[in-house]
Amino acid sequence: MKYVDEFREAGAIRKAAEEIRRLADPKRHYRFMEVCGGHTHAIYRFGVKDLLPPNIELIHGPGCPVCVLPMGRIDDALSIAQDPNVIFTAFGDMMRVPGAHGSPLEHKARGMDVRIVYSPTDALKLAQKNPERQVVFFAIGFETTAPSTALTLMRAKALNVANFSVFCNHVTILPAIRAILDSPDMRIDAFIGPGHVSTVIGCRPYEWIVRNEHKPIVISGFEPVDLLQTIGMLLRQLKADHAKVENQYGRVVPWEGNRAALKAMAEVFELRPYFEWRGMGFISQSALRLRAGYAAWDAEQRFEVPGVRVTDPKAAQCGEVLKGALKPAQCKLFGKECTPEHPIGALMVSSEGSCAAYYNYEYRKAALTHVGASA
């Protein structure tokens, strides 16, 4: 409660929380997965869990692009960056993610030309300004980010910027949800659908979940009230034995998505036959690569990329946490070897990773309470 009390919508929050208590069957245990890492962050930050009855469990899903990228891809990226003629560009989120021989930031400290960009268009601009250098953009992200990379590539092609290329690691959210549903140790009752991914793909692509799996899904906003309303909507569907796609975030998410963004993605990308997800293994048709028409801007074709699989440290249980089979604190390394200051697994690196979110909001809070109690 302490996180949300200070906000002026406390009344609306209380009302939504009461509604949840009224709707939840005390004899039942509910497992809801929030797919999006932004939701995971919001849930911890706002203390949403504290507002829920104990029989509603929130499972943190795979929607943190930094967290699901396997270590081998980071090493591939860094092997490209090793070329002294390359200016290697990446989003700030990627800079601290450890590869087998250190993070991009550590490689920068060792003298590689690794630079943070905030937009793929900045990387393109850098290429135009440095025609004698090769500028490579490390593209990561779900459908929220992929259209921006697509449009940047379309601009690079139109302007014929030959020294620009993209190391493409874009992934798509639906195959990951499907993989989670197919996994034998997984029992999820319903899904909190991603907000900003859905501004691009719309609500229709989720219909197979309700049709084939008979699981409700509600696209949600990021405010505490949004999340609580969404949970209420899921409970109402379960109570009525309905399974449908609902849009709680209609004020931002159009049912049909963003057609121009989908068009740009279709122009530039095609599905990879399979792609490895950290902690989840290979998932078929779950990632994007550049189409033949854009091969000239594809860093994987322009540079030699080792493509070596790197397994995570054995003791790290990122995969189990990612699938919701383990809670972050149940991992052997959590809070000991692996902390946000010294992350071993990627779930500890990003603020959207469930381990970092849990560490920053729950674990520290518990530690403080403990210290307070013993003082």
């Binding site: 960009v117 980010t145 940047t152």
Partner: protein
């Protein structure tokens, strides 16, 4: 990572039809508006910006709500830093 930042469009570029100037917390930056070509952006519109691209149009009220969500998530500084980072040193 899927952080989307609300911003007001203050000027459309006269030289590049796909770019516009936005304002966030007093900072002005150039963004790409190509993803909204089916619903063209006008001066005064509010948009959600992600990695330097306008992703969707929103109302002014939604923009204020988004700003307050970012502030509550402790990410408004990151959001402003991200926007001021667009284009490196030059707007």
């Amino acid at each position: 990572m899927c952080l989307a930042i609300p911003a007001k469009v203050v000027e459309l570029s006269s030289t590049e039809p796909s770019r516009a100037l936005i304002e966030v917390a007093g900072a002005r930056r150039s963004i790409d508006i190509g993803l909204l070509e089916e619903d063209p952006v006008r001066t005064g519109d509010w948009v959600l910006v992600h990695v330097g691209f306008a992703l969707s149009k929103i109302s002014e009220e939604q923009a204020r709500e988004q700003l307050s969500t970012l502030a509550k998530l402790g990410e408004s500084e990151a959001a402003i830093q991200e926007v001021t980072g667009y284009g490196g040193d030059s707007p």
